[in-house]
């Protein structure tokens, strides 16, 4: 098993891509910790699934924009698991508007959760990983961070910011034997996505060259690869998982 004995924190791990990452990591042998803001039922479901796989899943109520919550979560994880090897930042929101209709709050909230939240967790992980001279950080971005998306100037800005943050940190942490990478999914079939009107879903499918939409496992598999020793020589990289949606 690729991640046997390792411990990981996945933010936004109660639903969607995050939940899938948590479960797949547990399947590969890792103990995981996930946070939730309001999806406590879903978080407990994820924990149950993982326990059936014979691993431990800690669930922590934490708002990713809150530094104290984050510090508490790291402390708990390190105590209970005896250490930390992996951080996956995945928690993200979107509030779509054209810019002339976008309020300051619409902007701030997306930037705070999507970008500042990553800063808070990346900083805590960096401080820990550099002391132990090993670690893996994977930041979930989006192809809309590589390109601009209509109606998502806040979301695109935050996702683009994650990419440069990832690259800067790859440079700072390289000498401490820490890999920092980003994964950029295109359209992913999550519970949320199931509510999108079918014309928009079809538009997304047509954008891809493989003619399909990613499952959450498609993204999780790439995250796992970046957390394994198979990718030990990859750092500061952005890997798209978009079926060719944006080439």
């Amino acid at each position: 098993m690729e991640l046997n004995g390792r411990s990981a924190i996945i933010t936004g791990g109660s639903i969607g891509i995050g939940a899938s990452i948590a479960v797949e990591m547990a399947r590969e042998g890792a103990n995981v910790a996930i946070n939730y803001r309001k999806h406590d039922t879903e978080a407990k479901e994820v924990a149950k699934t993982i326990e059936k796989l014979g691993k431990t899943c800690l669930i922590v109520k934490a708002d990713v924009t809150n530094n104290k919550h984050a510090e508490g979560m790291f402390k708990k994880v390190i105590e209970e698991f005896g250490g930390l090897d992996i951080l996956v930042c995945n928690a993200g929101i979107n509030i779509d508007r054209v810019i002339w209709k976008m309020s300051e709050n619409d902007w701030d909230n997306v930037i705070n959760v999507n970008l500042k939240g990553y800063f808070i967790y990346n900083k805590l992980a960096a401080s820990h990983f550099k002391e132990q001279r090993s670690g893996k950080i994977v930041n979930i971005t989006s192809i809309n961070g590589l390109r601009g998306k209509f109606g998502q100037c806040n979301y695109s800005a935050s996702k683009g910011g994650i990419i440069s943050l990832t690259k800067a940190l790859a440079k700072e942490l390289g000498k401490f034997n820490v890999n920092v990478n980003a994964v950029a999914p295109g359209m992913v079939m999550t519970e949320m996505a199931k509510n999108i009107p079918s014309e928009f879903l079809q538009k997304a499918v047509d954008e891809t060259v493989l003619g399909r939409i990613a499952s959450t496992e498609d993204v999780a598999n790439v995250v796992l690869f970046l957390c394994s020793e198979k990718s030990r020589h990859i750092t500061g990289e952005v890997i798209k998982v978009d079926g060719g949606q944006y080439i």
């Binding site: 550099k130 001279r133 700072e172 000498k175």
Partner: protein
Amino acid sequence: MPFKYFGKINFTPYTKVDKFSEYLHKGKLMGSRCKKCGETYFPPRADCLKCMDDKFEWVQYSGKGTLHSFTTIHAAPKGFDDIAPYTLGIVDLEEGGRLISWIGDIPKKEVKIGMNVKVVPRIFEDIPEIKLYYTIEKP
């Protein structure tokens, strides 16, 4: 991890004990032991001083020791002026051998000859380049 990554300014690009810096990067303080006569050395040396044999093995040191002497350098040589003044300490290592390095987080008035100390491997953090060193801390 070449030896040239060791020290604030390194003057020794090549040495037979090159692996020292590789271990240091991993956080380990390593000395040498002569395979023939068993004599140990810190700092490590490839050729045994005692029996002159050239086969040696690496031995891990705990870093624990006592402070033998120290001085605070005010007038620094080239390349060290940006960190002056700094305090150099000589440590007698528990397992034998000695090293010289900087006093780390020990407050000035607590630094006393004979005190117990611990040598901690470190990586220079605020520069992009990899540069390895160690500091003398309270145990």
